[in-house]
Symmetry: C2
């Protein structure tokens, strides 16, 4: 789509020069290089070090001039004062792309701003493009590329992120892991002295591994160009944004973070709306609803079916639906009759469907949703409480010595039956979203569903909010082009 | 406070008769009795069974008439059709309190409604008071009482809950455990044929182990009495409510859940406001913000100090503060100067305080918050990213063979230094709330803080929302009495 994008080569490098690692394991540059090694980056890595002959067991080079080839990418984690001469050295050798992790520039005031301008000037002179400075690095899971200090998951996700915060691509990894969420690609843009969020948006729109783009924004340097890029991107995939520069407090905090001036909240709100960018109000929402958008088809109408074995959660979900502009239609007599075949006598099948008590995922998670989706009476389904091992583990603890449950066989049978649920969104073209109080480390069903693209959110109302975003995307996707 | 409350004896029983357990481990009544046994209830338990001589190793009695004493409480998990005769049997023996788990009453329509009226008639005749029917049971952690099927945590929490959903006191246990939240006492009220939510509110207001009362409501049978009870309760402790019956969809769902008619949302909103009951919109908020209210002093003004080593989270927090009516004042020159002594050169100390990078909790979590709270320039402090073992575990993985970190000693030192932070809310009379992406299973600091009453919420904006509730409670607590 956009092969000229400067990020293309940065995110798909065949070789990397690394400036700022040594054999001192307490240094950030060293740790980041270790992470890259452990990520098993497949191409050659060339550490550049003025004195060391080897760095972390790899042959080191005294300067860029000594490199055996021109690397596709250079990563800089050096003291602020040497960043400009190092860029000069790399530029002379013909290096065209860099990630500058080094901080101490625009975000530090007047002198830093001058240093940052000098960086840009060197880059211009040699035709170099770069991410940063004051960023945390980039991640491309499928390319086994991770220049940050934080290890990522092995399996690539479908979320591409561009972030004006490094924390939101690194320290969040443990948070994401608990939710089965992973990045396809991630760019910590830092001060955006050269490459900015707009470049990232254009780049990620063309990357097949990325099915939803999420943005963390404190400011936009090029709002007009952002609008154009977003209008194009939202034609091909959902784009969500968290913008925190619209309040006085947020703008002031952002200023000392990346040295950027933020813009009026209402203005940005209009910009996002016009571009079809879905705005969220928390970083958690960005990840979790982004996951739903990446994996589920848009919600094409307002009507939802709700299924659970718990009266509290279905009532909470029904209430939250109405508060979020979604409907819970009473099922037709015909559909209620079809459901009665598989419902226990105490159950209610009018919608919400409350099975009262059932631990058989074959009924709750397959037979019932299939009948509901087949009927054409709803546009999507929310399920609460599909669970297996968590509940069994609790019971097994109580029943020890009285009843031995075949734990592994039961879990396997559950997961086999859940394959049918996982396929429904594709078959019926309608989204399925789940909620559960059991997380993926506690329950095999939660893990299985998340790993197969069915969102399992940790709270019934969150499933409704995910549906509300799927509906908003459904409306955006419908717009005339 | 209210020793006549019928729940007093139900929640503090010296002895329990149990009707509906057998030696069949696949029966609900059996599992629930096993849970009670495993909870180590200290008093005598008397299983009543028409045929068995022993139940789960305990001597069983053919009927209530055969019991060696009049038990303080009877628990019924019997088929619907025998519930009335069993109550009759218990009443004749002089039993005055019961928990009726049995379902199939008002929530099942006309015939069920008649059965429920018969239950009430028997109870009236013998002067019995009961919880249920169609409930999941009661929990009183400190009394080692748990009549539900779901085991609870050993350590009592400070949250007392009355819930019109059984799921919200049982299946949520695993969700609560991941957040360090536990109940002091819990009542699943079911159909409220006799004891209702108002009784629970009055009872919990007088229980010392309960520092915050949370309510899950689909309807209120006695709104006027609720208002009176809530006005009294909110004088002594915070009360929060999730009400889901105010939408058409929520009301319809609640009807088939507990057979109760719900009321207009605006009406209930006014009722809560008048009573000083803080309303939330999701069950997760009820638990997590309830935890904050139970353990932290109210926020007495709007001014917050924000501290982190991450620019993204502090900017998100600052933005969320303003959106939630809270202020992030620029610190005075004098305070900024006092902070400079402990801040790294790259840090920003104007508020938010961004340490840029620091893993020393002694500085970030003790020295800085203390200086801020001492100054009197803020009414509370939010900290993001106090962490220890999670981060070290990640680094230790990368550094294996290069650098051996004394993991246990470091964790111990951290926890020792966090004791000072834990004490600050009491010393300064101002709340401290944290956020982190590392949960209590991943990080020792998260666990330590939560276990000592400092909320650690899994998302920066959530910490702000907790503060907004602490502020709302601060305003309620100020009202003239």
């Amino acid at each position: 789509m956009d092969n000229d994008n400067p990020l293309r080569q940065i995110m798909h490098p065949r070789s990397i020069a690394w400036v700022g690692a040594s054999n001192n394991p307490a240094k950030m540059g060293t740790i980041q290089l270790l992470v890259l090694k452990h990520t098993n980056f497949p191409g050659p890595i060339y550490p550049i070090h003025p004195e060391e002959k080897t760095v972390l067991g790899m042959k080191a080079y005294a300067s860029a001039a000594d490199l055996p080839e021109v690397p596709d990418l250079a990563v800089l984690i050096v003291p602020t004062r040497v960043a400009v001469p190092v860029m000069e050295d790399l530029g002379r050798r013909g290096v065209k792309r860099a990630v500058i992790v080094t901080a101490g520039f625009k975000e530090m005031g007047q002198e830093g701003r001058r240093q940052e301008e000098a960086l840009v000037a060197v880059a211009r002179r040699y035709g170099m493009r770069f991410v940063g400075p004051n960023c945390i690095g980039v991640i491309h899971t499928g390319a086994r590329l991770n220049t940050t200090f934080f290890p990522t998951q092995d399996k690539a996700g479908a979320l591409g992120i561009a972030s004006q915060s490094g924390t939101y691509v690194t320290q969040v990894q443990l948070y994401l892991r608990r939710r089965g969420i992973a990045f396809s690609q991630a760019v910590s843009v830092g001060n955006e002295a050269d490459i900015d969020v707009v470049d990232c948006l254009e780049y990620l729109a063309g990357e097949e591994d990325t099915r939803c783009i999420i943005l963390y924004l404190e400011s936009l340097r090029r709002p007009r160009r952002f609008l154009e890029a977003a209008l194009r991107a939202t034609r091909v995939k959902p784009v969500m944004a968290l913008y925190v520069g619209g309040t006085a407090a947020g703008a002031r905090s952002g200023m000392s973070h990346t040295g950027s001036l933020a813009g009026d909240d209402g203005l940005y709100d209009g910009l996002f709306r016009q571009a079809g960018v879905l705005r969220v109000n928390s970083i958690g929402d960005l990840y979790t609803f982004g996951f739903a958008l990446a994996h589920q088809p848009p919600l094409k109408g307002n009507r939802l079916g709700i299924v659970s074995h718990s009266g509290g959660p279905v009532t909470s979900i029904a209430d939250a639906c109405e508060r979020n502009g979604l409907e819970v239609p009473v099922f037709s007599r015909a559909l209620q009759k079809r459901l009665e075949d598989v419902l226990p006598a105490t159950a209610s099948g009018a919608n919400p469907v409350d099975l009262t008590f059932s631990l058989d995922p074959g009924t709750m998670a397959v037979e019932i949703p299939r009948r509901i989706l087949e009927s054409g009476e709803v546009d999507g389904v929310i399920l609460h409480g599909v669970m297996g091992s968590s509940f069994r583990d609790v019971f097994a603890g109580q029943l020890k010595g009285l009843l031995d449950l075949p734990l592994e066989a039961l879990a396997e049978a559950e997961e086999t039956s859940l394959v049918d649920l996982v396929d429904m969104p594709r078959i019926y073209g309608k989204p399925v979203v789940c909620s559960s109080f059991m997380d993926r480390n506690q329950d095999n069903c939660t893990r299985f569903l998340q790993d197969h693209g069915v969102p399992v959110l940790y709270g019934p109302e969150k499933a409704v909010r995910a549906m509300a975003y799927l509906r908003r995307y459904g409306r955006c996707a419908d717009r005339p082009s």
